[in-house]
């Protein structure tokens, strides 16, 4: 498996569709313990990437990812904007170095993206944020790749890791982001950013296993 811009564009379409499908799930979470704009923010980001299709087609993957990062940075805003932008910047930088020519390289690039996101948000696992999905997914992706599992098996592992990570946010007290103000009252709700990440990751995994186009 090689990461190509063509795939990135297909992934963007899948993500866009999945976000719209899961609007009710995502929106309600940021309303419960945030400020209700997370769904709209993520959708604005997905729309932006989809609209870049012509501009990106034919570019090397790292350049495409970089352009996406810059676009997201000026499109999403809020907490999600700099975080997702940092993710794509980190991933682009890593792909540029390692080429993204096999599954492990892609997994490592994903992890590099997550690392950039962590740096920007000064966050860590257990704070009831998107990191509770992204970090276990990054680990699982790398471990499953090292074990040389099939792409299908890797995707299954990743989807499970994302779901487990998401579920873990329910009982956490938020200590980062807007929900941190709620203290104990944040318990019992899933995190909106974790949910949107899980939805996006699931969409991309489904695309890998069973391409729609």
């Amino acid at each position: 498996m090689i990461l190509q811009t063509d795939f990135i564009l297909k992934a963007a379409l899948s993500i866009q569709a999945a976000i719209i499908t899961h609007k009710p799930d995502i929106e309600v979470l940021d309303q419960a313990i945030g400020d209700g704009d997370h769904f709209i923010n993520v959708l604005r980001g997905a729309d932006a990437i989809v609209s870049m299709s012509d501009e990106l087609t034919g570019l090397p993957a790292d350049e495409a990812l970089n352009k996406i990062a810059i676009k997201l940075l000026s499109t999403i805003g809020g907490a999600a904007g700099p975080l997702f932008a940092s993710f794509f910047m980190g991933m682009a930088k890593n792909i540029k170095q390692n080429g993204g020519h096999d599954t492990l390289a892609i997994a490592v690039a994903f992890a590099a993206g997550v690392q950039a996101l962590i740096k920007r948000g000064k966050g860590k696992v257990g704070e009831k944020t998107m990191l509770d999905v992204l970090v276990p997914v990054a680990h699982t992706f790398i471990f499953s790749a090292i074990e040389n599992k099939t792409v299908t098996a890797i995707c299954t592992d990743i989807k499970t890791a994302a779901e487990d990570g998401l579920a873990s946010t329910r009982d956490l007290i938020a200590t980062k982001g807007r929900a941190a103000g709620l203290g104990e009252r944040s318990i019992g709700h899933l995190d909106a950013g974790a949910k949107s990440c899980q939805v996006m990751i699931q969409a991309v995994c489904n695309l890998v296993v069973q391409p729609l186009f």
């Binding site: 929106e27 309303q31 419960a32 313990i33 945030g34 400020d35 209700g36 704009d37 769904f39 709209i40 923010n41 604005r44 940075l73 000026s74 499109t75 999403i76 805003g77 809020g78 907490a79 999600a80 904007g81 700099p82 975080l83 932008a85 920007r120 948000g121 200590t175 980062k176 982001g177 807007r178 929900a179 941190a180 103000g181 709620l182 203290g183 009252r185």
Partner: protein, 320 residues
């Protein structure tokens, strides 16, 4: 909708502000020279914050985001390029993860000397090392007014930042909501609340506060808010003169704001605190939320001077 609202704002205040699209930012009509450029910004939905405070004696530029969503770094960079006047750029940022990160990225990319004042006056959430810290709410208006004033005197970047940080340190706010706000894109209220409950410590994005309580006598609610503020400000308030700001969150009748002011002033007086300056109105709103926030800023001669100095903006004007 945001675009049209910004256009309407600019047209209604064409003598004071200019508007630029893609990226979106607003500046003073007349570029100021020989002063630190003061820039603020934040999600839409808090009007008149921040664009309503552009003008002589206050901001040089403001960057509006989407509703309740921080603006993006390209906006701050373009705004800074438009208004910087070789004495550096001061960014005034409300302390929210999103705003902080976007302004931080802008600051990293800015080709000018710059500094940031983070406002974090909301004492509803008890500060702790485990969180991002307190939120910036209506106290931001006081910071913007006074920092804007000192900048106008030709003060350097460090002095501007120092005054902003000082005011933020001696300012505390707390809000209470009776109804939710509705983010237009979501189309339904952010939270459900019965007519008999209040949300004590609500944030200006409608984030839930420290607790949901049963509605009580207005006086008891206000007393609780003042107590939270004074506890937070601690010894600073002893025999102090303060600025008392009663801020409407959007749908609260002015009549009620004055009622709150009346009780809050009484509570402060009972503690030997003198309300030497006051401001009552809708200055930092949460779209259409019914509710109000109370802000107390401990004054000294420097802050008083800069609060009183002339200001000429769409939403705050005196002495000119």
């Amino acid at each position: 909708m945001l675009t049209e609202s910004l256009s309407g704002f600019q047209k209604a205040h064409a003598d004071l502000v200019s508007l630029h699209f893609m990226p979106n930012y607003l500046t003073r009509k007349q570029k100021a020279v020989n002063k630190v450029a003061i820039i603020s910004g934040g999600g839409a939905g808090h009007e008149p914050l921040h664009a309503g405070f552009i003008g002589k004696g206050m901001l040089d530029a403001a960057c509006p985001g989407q509703v309740f969503t921080s603006p993006t770094p390209d906006q701050m960079i373009a705004a800074a390029e438009a208004v910087h006047a070789d004495k550096g750029v001061l960014l005034i940022v409300k302390n929210y993860a999103g705003d902080v990160m976007n302004f931080e990225m802008a600051a990293e990319m800015l080709p000018f000397e710059n500094a940031t004042v983070l406002t974090s006056d909301d004492c509803a959430v008890i500060n702790s090392t485990f969180t991002d810290g307190r939120r910036g709410v209506a106290g931001t208006v006081i910071v913007e007014k006074c920092v804007g004033s000192i900048a106008e005197t030709g003060a350097d970047l460090a002095s501007c930042k120092a005054l902003g940080d000082k005011i933020n340190a001696q300012t505390a706010s707390i809000g209470v909501a009776f109804t939710s706000c509705t983010v237009p894109a979501a189309g339904k209220p952010t939270f459900e609340i019965s007519a008999f409950d209040i949300e004590m410590g609500v944030g200006i994005h409608g984030e839930p506060g420290r607790k949901r309580e049963t509605m009580r006598e207005a006086d008891a609610i206000i007393q609780e808010m003042i107590t939270a503020i004074l506890t937070d400000l601690g010894d600073r308030t002893k025999d102090a003169e303060v600025l008392l700001l009663v801020n409407g969150l959007g749908a609260t009748p002015l009549m009620e704001l004055y009622l709150i002011f009346n009780t809050a002033e009484k509570c402060l007086q009972e503690q030997g605190i003198t309300v030497a300056r006051s401001l009552v109105g809708n200055y930092t709103t949460a779209i259409d939320m019914a509710g109000a926030s109370i802000t107390v800023c401990v004054l000294d001669q420097e802050i008083k001077t800069h609060w009183d100095s002339p200001v000429h903006t769409p939403a705050l004007r005196w002495g000119v």
